[in-house]
Amino acid sequence: MFSMKNDLVIAAWNAIEPNDSQDARILSAILSANRSERKRKEKTMLHTKKLLIPAVCLVLLAVVGIVGIRLNWFTASREPIEAESEGAPVNDTECKVPNPILDEELNAAFGYLFPTEIEEGFVLTEEGIGLYSDSADALHAEHRVLKATYYNEELDDTLLIQVAPSAYFGGYLKNMPYGVVQYGDPQTDGARSSMIFFENDGITILYKFGKTDIAALDAEAAERFYAMVHSARYFYRISPAESEENDEIDIDG
């Protein structure tokens, strides 16, 4: 880099400065611009703050909506129940409501037939208790079926309890009298299901074992089973079984 005497240049430049009036004019213009900018930014900040609360509310609503949809707070999918032909198991829909028996309305619809005391040894399975419906309108009892699936380790068998309006079971009950043990088709492994229906005021309850013969329960097991059945708040008294396959069972009481 080169160097040179710069005193003259510095001296020359030193003279270049705004005079007092210029100074005042320039400063006035700058301060005026600063005040305008401050007002503008303060307005923007206030506007942002005003929008913040509604924005936060919207975000909260969105979060609640997303969580609610995931947890099925608002809707539940439903598919029509298909009536099964005679002798075949009834298909259920995919609608499931957790622990519906506690719901007052559902309890009023189905609860009086559902056992209030579950026999020891019967454990609710993963399917648990579910409410299934063939209609998007779940408020009408006639379109709903309550299902509870238990497992008994001693019997190594499942017990299905279904409660629904009698019309739900349709032709299935046509040849199946209430209070009489009925049987499903034998499976390939030789097992066959056994079931028994009870009814009251247009509501039917079904007890169905996967492979245990209800009629073949020993006295103690049968007593426990029917005690469970009878624990329902309002149990329809049936007449003694007429089928030769069943022992006479006194279920009064």
Binding site: M1, F2, S3, M4, K5, N6, L8, V9, I10, A11, A12, W13, A15, I16, E17, P18, Q22, D23, R25, I26, L27, A29, I30, L31, A33, N34, R35, E37, R38, K41, E42
Partner: protein, 165 residues
């Protein structure tokens, strides 16, 4: 030295007082008349108010102002027909120095625009070539070339006034 989003009038007044001379001289070097220089100085500080840069030091502040003032002046030169005032009106110096200073300043101000900022920053503000390159956002080689060419012109026009040391 970080600034808040909104500067008070006091902060702006202090900032202006710190750098008004330098900004004025940079702008005058380009524009060569007081009216345009006044506008350019105002515009430079108004840009600072609106862009709200966060300065880390006074030197950082100064560098920003020099660069912005240069850009403001270049924009004005592109768009305005400027009247050129007689340089004698701009200052008042003792007679003996007046002639030489007139000649020197006149010669400096007569340099091509692209040399002026570098010459001012190098000789008056005392920045090195590398620092000037950083301030003006130019390659160092460009700054070196500008200073060398400016020196050659000044030496040619001023003769023995400039001695190499």
């Amino acid at each position: 030295m970080k600034r808040s989003l909104l500067r008070t009038d006091k902060e702006i007044t202090e900032l202006y007082a710190r750098h008004k001379g330098m900004v004025y001289r940079v702008c005058f070097a380009y524009l060569k008349n007081t009216a345009d220089t006044e506008d350019a100085v105002s515009e430079t500080f108004i840009r600072l108010i609106r862009s709200v840069p966060a300065f880390e030091s006074v030197e950082h502040e100064k560098a920003w102002l020099i660069r912005t003032a240069s850009n403001v002046c270049k924009n004005q030169l592109k768009h305005w027909w400027r009247k050129r005032e007689d340089i004698d009106r701009c200052y008042d110096l003792p007679d003996m120095a007046k002639v030489e200073t007139n000649e020197v300043l006149e010669t400096v101000l007569a340099l091509p625009d692209r040399y002026k900022a570098a010459v001012y920053l190098y000789y008056y503000e005392g920045y090195t070539g590398a620092e000037i390159a950083g301030l003006l956002k130019q390659p160092q080689s460009t700054v070196r070339n500008h200073l060398r060419e400016a020196r050659a012109i000044l030496k040619e026009r001023l003769g023995d006034v400039f001695d190499e040391e």
